[in-house]
């Protein structure tokens, strides 16, 4: 299976407004995705929300590629009820750049971004309450990073809070 | 008027009591008197594991292929075998199954090519100790022995 070019109104709209910031628009297994620069991500979400009626933010997640220069991929999935179409937007996160929070556009982004922060340590600028959500607040380390072992844990936290030497 | 009569003659109450009374019928009682009455579990129930022996020769069916151990998501099966110099086959020596971590997904029995490992209908596998849930080859061949209480 290979990717096929994605034509239609959405990629045209993205290219028209964001120009060179749109790096790639393709379909893979019939699912459209667009690769953008991180700076263009929030404008793209805003654009899709306002111009193309993408009114439902399905998910925000990240993927860790520790060997790459820009370590993380940030993935946004948006859906339009009126078009019945789902679009995936991806951007690489450079080490010195913080992605902007999508909360002003989609309220549902709040917890999703907190989870990405909790699991990967990606900080979102402008988030109203960027704290850990699933892990305890004092936990150190980001569990879904590739260099975090499957049985690894924050031993100091375990010792202080559970009173045992190790959780294993 | 009709409403008043109903209320006066306590018809609603009697109707409700009739529903309650109807359930006195023994056929409608669903409570099982465990342990004297055992529940009938389905044929495909995934319960305690068993290592099957050949019904006639009473030799183990296991060919020590290790496929169950590879299939297990929790890595809780350990198969120990030695290569038999005569038959050039692997003979089963030990077989350890850690029930305390088992989630009864059935992937090991799906993987078994000779139907040696099987999840049976036995469901009484509680133990007082964690160690008691680590079953060796003997326990797997004999199956669980729940304590029988008699009056």
């Amino acid at each position: 299976m290979a990717t096929v070019p994605w034509d239609g109104a959405i990629p045209e709209l993205l290219r028209e407004h964001l120009g060179a910031a749109v790096l790639d628009t393709h379909l893979y297994v019939d699912q459209p995705f667009a690769v953008l620069t991180l700076a263009a991500m929030l404008p793209a979400l805003e654009l899709l929300h306002a111009e193309a009626d993408f009114d439902y933010l399905v998910d925000i997640t990240a993927v860790d590629y520790p060997k790459r220069e820009c370590r993380f991929d940030l993935v946004y999935i948006v859906y339009s009820h009126s078009r019945n179409q789902r679009v995936r937007l991806k951007a690489q996160v450079p080490a010195n750049q913080k992605p902007l929070s999508a909360v002003p556009i989609f309220l549902g982004a709040n917890w999703l971004e907190r989870e990405v922060f909790d699991m990967f340590g990606i900080e979102f600028a402008g988030h109203p309450n960027l704290t850990r959500i699933l892990m305890p607040d004092e936990w150190s380390g980001f569990p879904l990073r590739k260099d975090y072992g499957i049985i690894q844990m924050d031993n100091t936290w375990v010792k202080n809070n559970l009173g045992i030497e190790s959780g294993q | 008027m009709k409403q008043f009569l109903r209320r006066f003659l306590l018809l609603d109450l009697l109707e409700g009591l009739w529903v309650t009374f109807r359930h006195q019928d023994t056929r409608l009682i669903t409570t099982e008197q465990y342990p004297s009455q055992r529940p009938a579990v389905s044929e495909r129930y995934r319960g305690a594991p068993r290592l099957n022996n050949h019904p006639e020769t009473n030799e183990t069916l296991c060919i020590s292929c290790n496929l169950c151990a590879v299939a297990c998501p929790e890595n809780l099966i350990v198969v120990g075998s030695v290569r038999n110099a005569e038959t050039k086959r692997k003979d089963l020596v030990t077989f350890t199954y850690d029930l305390s971590r088992c989630m009864f997904c059935g992937l090991c029995e799906d993987a078994c090519p000779v139907d040696a490992l099987e999840l049976t209908q036995d469901f009484e596998i509680a133990s007082y100790t964690r160690e008691g849930l680590i079953w060796d080859r003997q326990a797997l061949e004999e199956g669980p022995r729940p304590t029988q209480y008699r009056q």
Binding site: M1, Y28, V29, Q31, F33, D55, Y56, L57, V58, D59, T61, V63, D64, V75, I77, H81, N84, R86, R88, F106, L107, G108, N110, W111, L112, M119, R132, I133, L134, M135, P136, P143, L144, Y148, I150 | T30, V41, S42, E43, R44, Y45, R46, A71, C72, P73, M103, F104, C105, G106, L107, D110, L119
Partner: protein, 368 residues
Amino acid sequence: MTTSPDANELVLNMGPQHPSTHGVLRIVLKLDGERVKSTECIIGYLHRGVEKIAENRTYVQFAPYVDRMDYLAAVSNGLGYCLAVEKLMNSVAPPRAQAVRVILTELNRIASHLLWLGTHALDIGAITPLFYTLREREEVLKIFENYCGARLTTHAFRIGGLQYELYEGFEQQVNAFCDQFPAKVDEYEELLGGNRIWRERLRGVGVLDAATCKRYGVTGPMLRAAGVPWDLRKAQPYSGYEQYEFEVPTRSSGDTLDRYFVRLDEMRQSVRIVRQAVANIPTGPIMAKIAKVIKPPVGEAYVSIEAPKGELGYFIVSDGSTHPYRLRVRPPSFVNLQALDHMAKGALVADVVAIIGTIDIVLGEVDR
């Protein structure tokens, strides 16, 4: 209980050990008298790191774990996962497998809604319905047990199709259930919906209109109760749902009472789908022709299904090996729970229990 500097404000901890938080949800309520000023959900008590586990298991090995997220809808979880991996491998389950998947998933929807109904009524103070709903749920669980050998964490489906062929008497058992079940739904409706206390207790509580639902990303019965007829089974049919005739029940006011009605109607529609599916189960193989060792090609896919609680999505990134490189679960409960703050603001403390119940959360899925 502590009082904060604002003398009128009372901070109250609800949970994690509270029977009506449906698990280990902790909510910090800020109260002004009986009114809720704000809520803060503290979750993660049941976090097991399912997404991390996925990266350390093969595709086949991970399948039993998905049952343990939304454990009341294990079959739906399994279906979503299998469809996602099949999408990555570009394979489709054979028609017979698809029909059986639809039957079991719809039965699971009924079972999930039944347990929701019983516990929701229990939270509000109606104790009897729980016994009735558990009685009917038992029939569904018996079908699951007969089919795949487990009642709760079923692991019923495999990537590419099914592991088990139908057992003898499956059709009869499912038909018998479908024959007697609609009358039971009417009974619940009479018992609860016909009760004025129930109606008045729920009307206007936890209102969430369609626009707010969309802003929060709320899906499932909550969105449909606000009047949006959006159901993934209709919008983007999977597993052969396009062959079946059914309606998407909606209501208009988006309050707790409407969500109750929507879920009852959904159970009726599920019975309708099951009837159609069981009447003509195609013959043929139950497993697609796929390699023994599952190695999807490099790429990524997002597949979602309409789980009983909303849109359940799986986003899988494959690097061509036997293990998923990254597996993300988009849990409906997690996203829906976010709307709690909006719904509870200004409500009475006693309504918070009703609002938690109406979201229909399973903490196993919220925390994963």
